[in-house]
């Protein structure tokens, strides 16, 4: 399958020792059990496991392996050679160049790595080869254990159409309007009309929400058909599609199941994953606020029925759509460890990876259904390297120049596979980490999530913390009133960041002004004996002009020691803090209440960028006089961008639909950029003639690169 085969190199350097020092970054050691260690005392499982994955999930699996005394083997692409998962593993094998098809999906090379290292089992993580029956089969042929379900189950559940038939037979509720394979756009439209709009179109073979599109009319069906089939072909090499009834106002709630090779299966409660953007999960929680014990049991039991029907073993997830009347419909079954598994571990105390390894070795499940608890509440935020201001998140890339996980807080777990200095590249998923917080109640877990997001330092890439922070504090989310349409419903005009109210604006102005004065005073502190004596300004009062969001605020600052009294917008605020100008984190006490600010930049021209309530605010601070003079400065006219199309993100040009001289209508597609397996259609903002085209299909482009110029 792979045209490219790189000589497999064994990286003999053992990085284990090095990694030991940064162990805590993969999970805090807290007073609550993330997952139990009690079960694995004297059971012999494997000596060596190869983890056929990268990033956080590879690290996550290795962590349990280390706990169980199992040697680990990492595979990596050449660009990942110094990645955290490579350093963490006992051995590492390079399996090819950066593109996933040539490395992490390169079965040949991974099989070679298994042979070379003598691994007895392979944990596939999620994505990549995790639900590839061919891979599982080849491992089985070589006598290597695949830590996951049997090929039969993968195959049965991997196909959306077949899985529904099986589910139906197993008396699991399924979605009405189910249909078959679609070959042409016209056929798609016909089927859609039969089912009745809205309909959902997606790749048959795809997992998660990838490639899923919703159509409300014939035209959208055609468009959806085109995109989905393209994406299906590029992502899965299988262009079959599925069209079915789309349920309005649905919630996405899934049941974690765990089954062994002896016919036993458990359901480990639910995860609510309704907060999604473009059908990809953003915030998950366990348990759901929506389910009552009866519904939960009904869903759990159906999930177990399905698992048993396909003789499932290992951990798996049965996804349901739940409507407002708590009717639930089977969506699909994911035959792998889910991204969001940590929240289940938090509330049940089970280590799912450990259970998967045990089950793969053939051990029976130890806990019984009645032993599975719901202890407290867990919330997971997926921290992505993406710009939330562009359709709730377009990928961004870069180098993490500064990176600090909020592990100083209790009840926080961060699953990540990156560290300060790591690159977020265009080749892989842009996820930075999974930030999980836990509490005995939902309110506690949410409050902790707020703190954790505020204290999370990420520099060098654009990230989605602004959006996450807004979601988890939104009244609708806090009250549990959510659906999978939450984001478009709450932000119909797109996400715009935190909207300041009078008080929070005042706090922001006051903190920025205090920081500015601190920096100004520090500039005068030249140490050592001076030949020409210095004449610092000894003053305790400043009149400043602070510009925020296009509005000028008159701000007066009085300083006494570390305490600043700031009068902003006519009201006084007491601001107190450590005022460390080197630290990215600024814990500040405002009128007695503790707030966490982050300082992203501080420039000579008085521009200060602060992160407050998750959102980045740019403030321009000057003395009153400087501000007066600044009013004479000309407004620099920004470049007219309506006739210039730039790439909104780094990625690959899939198709260019225009050539110079063409006339495009407003909204007409100009080209398609693929980034992180997402196809994004770029359209004309106005009707115009195409002046020049600066890209061609297959090319890699960076964010902001000029693609097409219009006249």
């Amino acid at each position: 399958m792979a045209a490219y085969r790189q000589a497999v190199l064994v990286d003999r350097l053992l990085f284990t020792l090095k990694y030991a020092s940064c162990q805590p970054c993969c999970g805090a050691v807290n007073h609550w059990a993330q997952y139990s260690t009690a079960t694995a005392c004297d059971e012999k499982t494997f000596d060596k496991i190869l983890i056929a994955n990268r990033g956080e999930i590879a690290c996550r699996v290795m962590k349990t392996c280390q706990k169980m005394g199992i040697q680990t083997v990492a595979v990596h692409s050449d660009v990942d050679s110094s990645a955290v998962h490579v350093k963490m593993a006992d051995e590492a094998v390079c399996v090819g160049p950066a593109p996933t098809a040539k490395s992490y999906l390169n079965m040949e090379a991974i099989m070679e790595a298994v042979r070379l290292t003598g691994a007895q089992a392979v944990h596939p993580g999620y994505g990549f080869l995790s639900e590839n029956k061919e891979f599982a089969k080849r491992l089985a042929e070589e006598g290597v254990t695949f830590i996951g379900p049997d090929t039969h189950a993968i195959q049965a559940m991997g196909d959306k159409i077949e899985s529904k038939l099986i589910a139906k037979a197993a008396k699991v509720n399924t979605i009405p309007g189910f249909d078959g394979v679609v070959k042409t756009a016209d056929e798609a439209v016909k089927i859609a009309q039969q089912i009745g709009y809205p309909v959902m179109i997606k790749a048959s073979a795809g997992g998660g929400g990838k490639g899923m599109r919703i159509a409300w009319n014939d035209e959208e069906t055609r468009e959806g058909f085109r995109f989905s089939s393209q994406e299906a072909a590029s992502s899965f090499g299988d262009d079959r599609l599925l069209i079915e009834k789309y349920i309005d106002n649905p919630r996405h709630i899934e049941i974690q199941v765990l089954a062994d090779k002896h016919g036993d299966a458990l359901w480990l409660n639910e995860r609510e994953c309704s907060i999604q953007r473009r059908n990809q999960k953003v915030v998950e929680e366990a348990p759901s606020t929506f389910l009552d014990p009866d519904t939960r049991r009904a869903m759990g039991e159906q999930a177990v029925q399905l698992a048993k029907a396909v003789k499932y073993s290992s951990a798996g997830t049965v996804e349901f759509l739940v409507d407002s009347k708590k009717n639930f419909y089977f969506l699909e079954m994911n035959t792998r460890l889910q991204v969001e598994h940590p929240i289940t571990e938090c509330i049940t105390g089970l280590d799912l990876v450990e259970q998967m390894i045990r089950v793969a070795k053939g051990y029976r499940l130890q806990p019984r259904q009645e032993d599975i608890p719901i202890n407290g509440w867990a919330i997971e935020s997926r921290v992505y390297a993406e710009d939330p201001y562009k359709s709730f998140g377009l990928p961004s890339i870069g180098r993490l120049s500064q990176y600090q996980e909020p592990l100083n807080l209790s009840n926080v777990r961060v699953d990540s596979g990156i560290e300060e200095g790591s690159d977020i590249s265009i080749y892989y998923d842009p996820m930075i980490s999974k930030l999980v917080t836990y509490g005995s109640t939902r309110a506690e877990a949410l409050a902790r999530m707020e703190d954790a997001l505020d204290s999370y330092v990420i520099r060098g890439v654009t990230h989605n913390i602004p959006l996450l922070r807004e979601i988890i504090t939104h009244p609708r989310f806090v009250s549990g009133d959510i659906t999978t349409n939450f984001l478009p419903e709450v932000y119909p005009d797109g996400f715009k960041g935190h909207q300041l109210e009078a008080q929070s604006r005042r706090e922001l102005l006051a903190s920025a002004a205090a920081l500015y004065v601190t920096a100004q005073l520090r500039s005068q502190k030249i140490l050592g004996p001076l030949r020409v004596s210095s004449a610092p300004m000894e003053r305790g009062f400043w009149e400043l002009c602070v510009e925020l969001g296009g509005q000028q605020h008159h701000v007066q600052v009085t300083k006494s020691g570390d305490l600043y009294t700031v009068e902003a917008d006519g009201e006084k605020v007491d601001v107190c803090g450590q005022w460390n100008l080197a630290s990215p984190l600024l814990p500040i006490t405002i009128n007695g209440a503790e707030r966490m600010f982050q300082c992203l930049s501080r420039e000579a021209s008085g521009t200060i960028v602060l992160q407050y309530m998750g959102t980045m605010f740019k403030l321009q601070i000057m003395s009153q006089r400087a501000a007066e003079l600044n009013s004479y400065m000309p407004e620099k006219v920004p470049e007219d961008t309506s006739s210039i199309l730039r790439s909104p993100m780094p990625g690959t040009v899939v198709a260019v639909s225009v050539k110079p001289g063409d006339t495009v209508a407003e909204g007409q597609e100009i080209c398609v950029i693929e980034a992180m397996k997402m196809q994004n259609s770029l359209t004309a903002v106005k009707q115009a003639k195409v002046k020049s085209v600066h890209c061609k299909a297959g090319e890699t482009v960076g964010e902001g690169d000029l693609l097409v110029e219009l006249e």
Binding site: D78, S81, S82, R399, L400, S401, Q402, Y403, E419, E420, G421, S422, R522, S523, Q524, K525, I526, L527, G528, L530, R531, V532, S534, A535, P536, M537, N580, L581, A582, S583, A604, S605, G606, M622, S623, R625, A626, L629, N630, Y632, M633, P634, K636
Partner: protein
Amino acid sequence: MMAAFTVARSSGGLFSSLRVSFRNFANIKHGAAAASSPKSALLPDRRWYSVSHLSVKERIEQKRKAALIGGGQKRIDAQHKKGKLTARERVELLLDPESFVETDMFVEHRCSDFGMEQDANKFPGDSVVTGRGRINGRLVYVFSQDFTVFGGSLSGAHAQKICKIMDQAMTVGAPVIGLNDSGGARIQEGVESLAGYADIFLRNVLASGVVPQISLIMGPCAGGAVYSPALTDFTFMVKDTSYLFITGPDVVKSVTNEDVTQEELGGAKTHTTVSGVAHRAFENDVEALLNLREFFNFLPLSNQDPAPIRECHDPSDRLVKSLDTIVPFESTKAYDMLDIIHAIVDERDFFEIMPNYAKNIVVGFARMNGRTVGIVGNQPKVASGCLDINSSVKGARFVRFCDAFNIPIITFVDVPGFLPGTAQEYGGIIRHGAKLLYAYAEATVPKITVITRKAYGGAYDVMSSKHLRGDVNYAWPTAEVAVMGAKGAVQIIFRGKENQAEAEAEYVEKFANPFPAAVRGFVDDIIEPSSTRKKICSDLEVLASKKQVNPWKKHANIPL
């Protein structure tokens, strides 16, 4: 000979002008004393005699007032309309509030031709504001040309005012900042004006290396006038409103028949990206002046002072983990030297000089544990970080500034060599490359060198090597110190032989690592990248008392 003559002439000018003012002063006093006794009885309400209707006190007030509005409200408004501040507003923004002490507010031009002698054509202070003040409490001398008075043109009096504060700055030992906004020579004054330029040039040269001199071009600066900024240590510009050229577009058109706009010929973009005349450009007057304040804080006041140490919040022993993975495994792959610099220096605060010119070398100021340091680094991201004509000259000038003003130099080396080609050879890479070599060899300030990756060939020697008296030379584990890359080396050593690949591997094994240099003591240590900041901070502490003197000479002869 020439210089001596000019000194004599100009100091004569200074004395004569002093005499003039003294005479005036004496006259008045004398007159008052002589006249007071007989007239006082007649005019008891008049305390002294005056030829005009106004008392001297009132005249002082009036002159001061007149000086403060320069060319008048109309011209001030016109200046504002152009998006420019007035000379006084600029001084006000640049200096600490109320710290400006003005000199020569009453100086007027002395031209009597073309009707210039009329009162309407006299402006107290003439077309420049001069004096001293403080920036963050530290002393500075400043002149600010006033475009509202005769377009800021340079008269004899104007030049004399500038010379006076420059002389004072030299005697005290404090920097001079010039805010340039001048249409050029005062044509009515003819040679007087030209002499004035030369007086300033001379002082620029004499002050060079004694006190830091900074020029901020905030309007036109054309003709001979450009040589004053050119002689100063740093030239900054304001985008869209400032121009520097020897001859304007009209003359260019008539001589070379080239069509070129002012902006293209001598705008901020041209000089910061193409010509290398200016060191940095800012968006507008306010931003430029605020940045200048920040920049000033990096500099010592004179060559008698050590590099300043500012209070620092960044721990000097901070480990920078991200540096352990910054150099890619493939030695052909680029990375950003700025990432290394930002991570190592205090608070990620790096004031880059010439960020858009000869980008294959990065130079600028930063602090290490509060102390100002000059940073030089090859930039692998641009032209593989090779040394060429422009980057050598850029680096050399920066190194010499640091050396002149006791600023330690930290050099990050990743250099594949000098850029080959006819363009470079014909352009004189030999001569220009020698400048950087010269500058490093000559420098006696603390020199710390970190080889991050490649240090090939002659460029290795140049980049602050041990052999050029580097005080501390470190290599990262990724360092490769060799005469050239493995491929080239093998082609020479094993010319015509088979098994080139094998030989190449052998060469890599032997030389593409820090050992050959380390075993010979050419690098002092091979260090973990993450510990670089900690090590440099501690080295600088020790090197603060470094004393090294070059042999006596009248002056050295750098290959210009």
